[in-house]
Amino acid sequence: MEHSATVSSTFFFCTPLSHERINWYTECVAYGAGIGSEQKRTFTVFITGDALFSFVDAQSREAWNALSELPSVQIVVDGDELRLHGLGDSVGAASPGITITERGGGTLFWEQLVFHLAGEWKGSKKAGFLLCHPPYMSRIPVHMLRFLSGAFNAGLSPELYAYLDGVHNIHNGQRPSEFENIGRTIATLSRTAGESGKDPWFAACSRCATARGYFQMNPGTGYCEPASSIEEITIRPLKEILTRFTGYYPILSHTSGGIVPRDVSGQQEIPPRLVIFITNPPYGTEWTFGGLSLALATAMDGIPTTVVFVEHGVYSLYGTHEVPPNDKVFNVQEMVAATGDVPSLCYLVHAPSLERRGIDVEEHLSGIRQVQNDELARILWDQASPATRILFF
């Protein structure tokens, strides 16, 4: 199927999927499958972890089943994780259109994902993971390790970018009694890859590391130094980490995607554009600030970047935000308003998310274009675009 396609799209989900997300996402993919008849598009969705429960929920399952009936869509589900969650038989029976990976000691799904991505990003020699979750409280670092180990085993150089709470993975001296030791496994993977002639690149964001105490000022030198962190991961400015995003290779995150034209002639020299979905409310967590900071940094580096406020992310554009004098947070609305003139950066807001909440965009931000699912699909599968990376915050 995929070898005759002209555009290949891959999505990866491992966190809980709301009805809202499944509805707009499946609708967009369905539009994407229908538009631009001169292009043959294929869509492959890889699902593991908590996202698997969307096959149990009746409403979500219906949307997945409808999507899986499209001939250009393939949904691949992690069979080992399904069985871990006790869902193997029920999901297989209720969703006959999906592909469930065989028993594989926890690795088969990841091998298939890496094999698929390596075929999609033709000629790439690396694979990266943007890690935003901490170890042990979240299973996503385990998924990250399985993906990067799979990439290494397939002959690719693994790259890890620890961001936001993902920098907690760099803490040295981790000693979990019941779980896989994430810090040690990261260090081992980095060392092993380096010793075998690969070029591993493991980094953590210096702003996030400083905030969390892993990068401390040495009063003697006046410069920050790593503190309590494993030495296989280098702490670097986000700007430096994002230079990796100009490369032509797959980069996954906990919820992410990639759209890659199959005709790769000249593609490797063009930095993939970036689409960032802001899905969380503005101030309760670091997701919105982290997503916007990353988007601005990539745009200022010349990478075409589109930010889409979607789901609860639309609250960033609702009402007039006033930061109390002693509260040290960025006013998200001021960030957006002040950076609307940055070349390579485009802000959009998902109209169905606004409609669902019965709200509208604040007047002074009304210049931000509202998009319905069909228009969002046209933007994602823009025929003139080079490869596209999609990240959710």
């Binding site: 006046g222 400015p237 940094a297 960025f330 950076t339």
Partner: protein, 68 residues
């Protein structure tokens, strides 16, 4: 006096764009920045119609003034 020395270059740029938008003609924005911030983030504002000057106050610490 604002001390922006701990901000990343990206976040300093955002902060300056926000603050400069609120700046009335004739007013000046003053703050402390590092050498890297001065070179990468502050100085480029001079090409956008702003007057940017800085004085070294200490090792890797500069007092920057930006006016319209």
């Amino acid at each position: 006096m604002n001390d922006f020395t701990e901000l990343t270059c990206t976040n300093l740029m955002i902060k300056l764009k926000i603050l400069l938008k609120k700046l009335a003609p004739g007013e000046t924005l003053s703050f402390f920045a590092t050498r890297e911030q001065v070179d990468n983030t502050c100085a480029p504002f001079s090409s956008n119609g702003y007057q940017v000057v800085w004085d070294q106050e200490a090792e890797n610490r500069y007092l920057v003034r930006i006016g319209k």
